[in-house]
Symmetry: D3
Subunit: 285 residues, 6 copies
């Protein structure tokens, strides 16, 4: 079911497959869903809005078409003469540097808007998930994929260190700067769904094709959406606050968070429903 509320994006389809769940689909299949200029702004705008949309409890993110989640940056577009790098118009390296830094931060902000989204985001990947596909899915909370997904931290192959999120978030989402993280990031060699699962990048490799992946993703999203949104979104917030901080810090943060949230009517509803073996319903958040 398409919703008028979510219309108006050129490169993303937004649909509402079931109550409280929204499906964000990257929609540039003829280019393997590769990203260029205007798509970044749409991405940021979408997730900024969904973050505070009180009807939404879970977001699933996938790529349109049969061939790719996303092939990453649109390199042909990036190679055009009017691109930021080439077109900076400054001979002086320090001024070029300033233009470049502002540009990187702008792209990082788009990806960080996904990571900061208050609602849980589940990436459902198939086909190519290259370059930016890793940056983007690393900013999601949960990652599922089909068995034939091909992953690659591709940036070294275009002469640069990945700079919009992969190097900062991959150690967080697979656990540490492991031998495998270094191997795939330094070499830009592709890796399979099985390897992605063994190394904790995805938590499920769904048997079958894209249709089965989408169904399993939707089922999981519905399951999340049936839970207390106060509990689910609070859990996301606290888990994200854990990285790069000591346990003591995070325990205190958790207590401060919950001094408000334990006053929720959701707690009584959930406990009562549990004792009565009923399904609770929760107010919007």
């Amino acid at each position: 079911m398409a919703s008028r509320r979510f219309a108006g994006y050129q490169f993303f389809n937004l649909t509402v497959p079931s109550q409280h769940v929204i499906h964000v689909e990257i929609n540039r299949p003829q280019k393997l869903n590769a990203f260029y200029g205007p798509m970044w702004f749409e991405l940021k705008d979408i997730f900024a809005k969904l973050s505070v949309d009180s009807e939404i409890r879970c977001i699933i993110l996938s790529g349109a078409g049969d061939r790719a989640f996303t092939a990453g940056l649109d390199v042909e577009d990036a190679a055009k003469p009017d691109n930021t790098i080439s077109a900076s118009g400054f001979a002086d390296p320090s001024r070029k540097a300033t233009v470049l830094r502002r540009h990187i931060v702008e792209l990082q902000e788009a990806i960080s808007t996904v990571a900061r989204c208050e609602k849980p985001v589940v990436a459902l990947m198939h086909g190519y998930a290259y370059g930016l596909g890793i940056d983007l899915s690393s900013a999601c909370d949960i990652r599922f994929c089909t068995a034939d997904t091909k992953f690659c931290v591709k940036e070294v192959d275009i002469g640069l260190a990945a700079d919009v999120g992969t190097l900062s978030r991959l150690p967080k989402v697979v656990g540490g700067v492991t031998s495998w993280v270094k191997e795939v990031c330094l070499s830009a060699r592709p890796f399979s769904a099985q390897e992605a699962q063994h190394n904790n990048f995805v938590s499920r490799v769904v048997a079958g094709g894209k249709a089965e992946l989408m169904q399993e993703g939707l089922d999981f999203a519905n399951y999340l959406a049936s839970k207390s949104p106060v509990a689910v979104q609070g859990t996301k917030n606290i888990l994200d606050a854990a990285w790069g901080r000591t346990v003591e810090d995070n325990l205190n943060y958790t207590a401060v968070w919950n001094q408000a949230m334990l006053q929720s009517t959701d707690v009584q509803r959930a406990i009562l429903s549990g004792l009565q073996k009923k399904s609770p319903t929760f107010e919007k958040l």
Copy 2:
């Protein structure tokens, strides 16, 4: 062998199965070892004492009965009208918040007393290890379980974000905020022993039943207890200091720790015993 020194607890059995090893058993089997009020204080008191007991070199922690390590919080008790949340007696949310925060910190402190215990603690889990069972075992150093153990980060199901330690310690003990951590914490879906091992939560799934688990746990505890307590307890201290800190920070901390500890007579004894192929004995610590 029960020891008089460790008698007097209502909800925990403390026994000394072999030299330098103590067995702490959660003992409320008729309620699946679920926790309520007074048990928290006993737990804190026990681990505060064991931490500085110079006879003890390793602690094993398990649940009494056939059915559970612990089913978690005693929800029926939590639902009673005189519970902290319901009974705070304040209409004003800021004052309720203060009462709740103090209460959370108090419970966190009980679990943190396990985590701060100077001696290594091995959790031996069977049956249900739900909710608080994850908080508690995440505060232990090492986790073994039987093949039929059922785990669940249950808190979302009672309308709240887990607040006495799981969200702070699980990323530390499995390595990062992985897709799987988010999946099980946001959804409160149960997971198996096999899944717990694949995702590095437990390091051993013991074949057989609870008896085999207890034996393997005891064998391992005896093995630890045969080593230099200065070396073992120092290793625990330094490893725990590593999380949330840079490598450089921790290297310096390690050097400062060992400027005292390398003066130990254990070093000479251990090296000499090694060269002579003998078993060393070490003074109490």
Copy 3:
């Protein structure tokens, strides 16, 4: 091909098996490549030089002989009466502590020189990789091993907490302070190649013997050496900066790093070569 530039070390062989790749071989096979006094200084000196050697793009590190990567510290040497610990000549524990701390920091610095090396370092391990073998390989970026490698965090067996890097770097390179990390570090029990791979310490267990390992390591090194050194070495720098820091911190660091590095001619060369399906060549770095 041996290079005169890299001659003159007593305990290490340095050879250049292919362009931009250097092979550092620990060369004291009669003692299972165990370390003692002068070797530390050579190790530090070698990696300090290679770090800024513009001809080098990848380093492989292995142990000479059939039996060991390294058996660790030369305990017989450490037990001699003129060793730092025994020979400190101070009765006063605070003065002994100062001598010990300076000594530990000196050894840590040797290992940290490997970790800080600007070029990627691949450890290729066979036979014994005990004690210092873990400290040393944890400071490398990537770890491969043969199927019959035997690992051990051995320090507890000589009465001390590992202090030259293992306890600080192992949680970083396997992801967190897992049950398994605590198990092997507290107990000093040996573990196999398979266990090392399951727990993300090595990313490849190479079938066959040492020869096959060396070949696969060299192939991988050649692959890395064919990539843009600006991209590869930048990726290493940023990934290492991620540990113990928040994602936001590291994103900003990445942007500041790349404000200079995106001005590299490597970017144009790599993109152009990609579009033309050619192999790019890059200037030395």
Copy 4:
């Protein structure tokens, strides 16, 4: 000189008193420049634009009229029934909490936009600088005031802990959580310009009235604007990165920053001008 580029704001006057310097004036003098709803958005928008405006090298910020820099939050407006707090429309404290948190973060973001502005910002204060006046000027780089300025961390007087920046930034800008910081923040007692200078909140108390303050502020801004913008803005960036971080961290950050910025043509120009005793000119940034 008013500039068309900077027209169109209802509550702020933007003028360009001299080359590379812009004057931002809070312009609601009939209400002592107190802030309410729409002003926050204008503030954020202005500083987001100035941050990347290549013509601007220094910003001075003051309040219109004779009586106040700003009296702070417009409390009468905040007391209206349609205000966020009162009008949240939720009975459930956890949902109210979510609405409030989002609102606080939005206001914090407006102030943080001033703090993150790439150009140096000099606050010129006279009359009342109460409540928000401290939050706002703490986000500036440099603070001057007239001798009769009256300061107050007013928030405790309206029943809350200051939440849009004062408590986070005041310890940074006066140096630590001193006895004086606690005294004025806990008590909400007003303090004088002299006290502000003794405690390092302002670096200059200008003799005379508002006119003299504005002139001294403009002279200083012109002085800053005559320097290399690469050097000035880099210095601001690095100094701000120092707080809450170790010296080692910041040294590394500084080296990474300057690996790009030392390639600036400003360095040659500045050195050459210095040797030739001439005034250098610098390209826009």
Copy 5:
């Protein structure tokens, strides 16, 4: 007015000079209020209780008698043969180290209980404030003194680095590791009230003698006690969280704190009273 609730301490007098204010007096004047064994436990117990006493809104802390706030550690007692250091009964330095560390942590915990007290604590110092007097008053929020107070970071004179708080808290409460902090901490030279004020250790030097100090301290405490306790105690909590953390971290913490606290009825009461020029009253906290 002495309160029965606060009776029963041997070394501290607790009185309630006015509503919501409690006076804690160190009461061993014949020994210049020097600390030894049992006093630490009383100190910890008192502040743990006051922290959560809903009748108390401000604490003033002073020393009994004319001569001293406190002369610090009772060195004669520390020199006795049954003292922890001398009496550890271990020849082995690593075991002695363990006993010493536990002892230090225990004393640190007593001082930290003062620092963690939820209510604001004002230290009122006269005469000698030596050694422990600095540790203890640094853990208070606000420090006033008479003009003839003599301060000294005395520990170097007894052969040790201050270890129960001064070296950790002094840089926080005076702002950084200034030249003066190093000068007085490394040399153990005494310093005057004037020097303490110039260097931001005390915020007021009260003219007159101890009586005037006590009156000014009580007036200030009454002033604090008239404010919203939700606002005052929240301000303390957030300011203390600022040290050693980035501004961004603390802003987020502040927002999470206030999502609960802005729901306080104190906000409406305070704002309304302000508009009506009345004195508000607030519920206990």
Copy 6:
């Protein structure tokens, strides 16, 4: 008294004016003690050696001649064509960046060697203390100066952000990123001894000329040298560890440090001497 042990430096005079005290004099007075190439290596070498010299307990650092502590970087030398910046020989900005970063880190390391020196270092400044003079003296523990000393954070005037330490250490040693720190660092305006003292950069402005300064510095150094070196050097180590860390972190670090150091014979000697009103002597460290 010149000591043979300390001979052999071209740009520094090392003398031993009294027992346990060494005087390091920057000795290039004809160039106002400005720094260029070889001086950095000597500086690093000197402080690395003094750090572990067991005869030395305090270091005083000053500039030769009447006119300057140091005028900073030798700009004429820096402007020569064979300087690192000009002579990097790379057209590619990313490769230039790498050369520059390595060079900055090398210079930072020289200054950091002063900061990491285990012995206390007192900077005695007169005349010009410009640019590098601030970097260098900020790395010392304590700063005294004559009344006519002229200070300047000069780097902005040569087109760059100070990169060898000032921006990282000045906020630490004056307390925070105050309005004054920003004012003098962004503008490169000179400041006086009085201003340096008001803003806590120096702790003493000595009346009279250079001779009086040197005498007061030496008196203070002798005073420090009479104290327990275990206590003095431990105090320095712990204070330096406090910056950028939480109080809790540093308290734990302090306890771990003192578990070794409290075993010092200095403690007994110092306490006993204190009780007997005698002057203690301490073993070398």
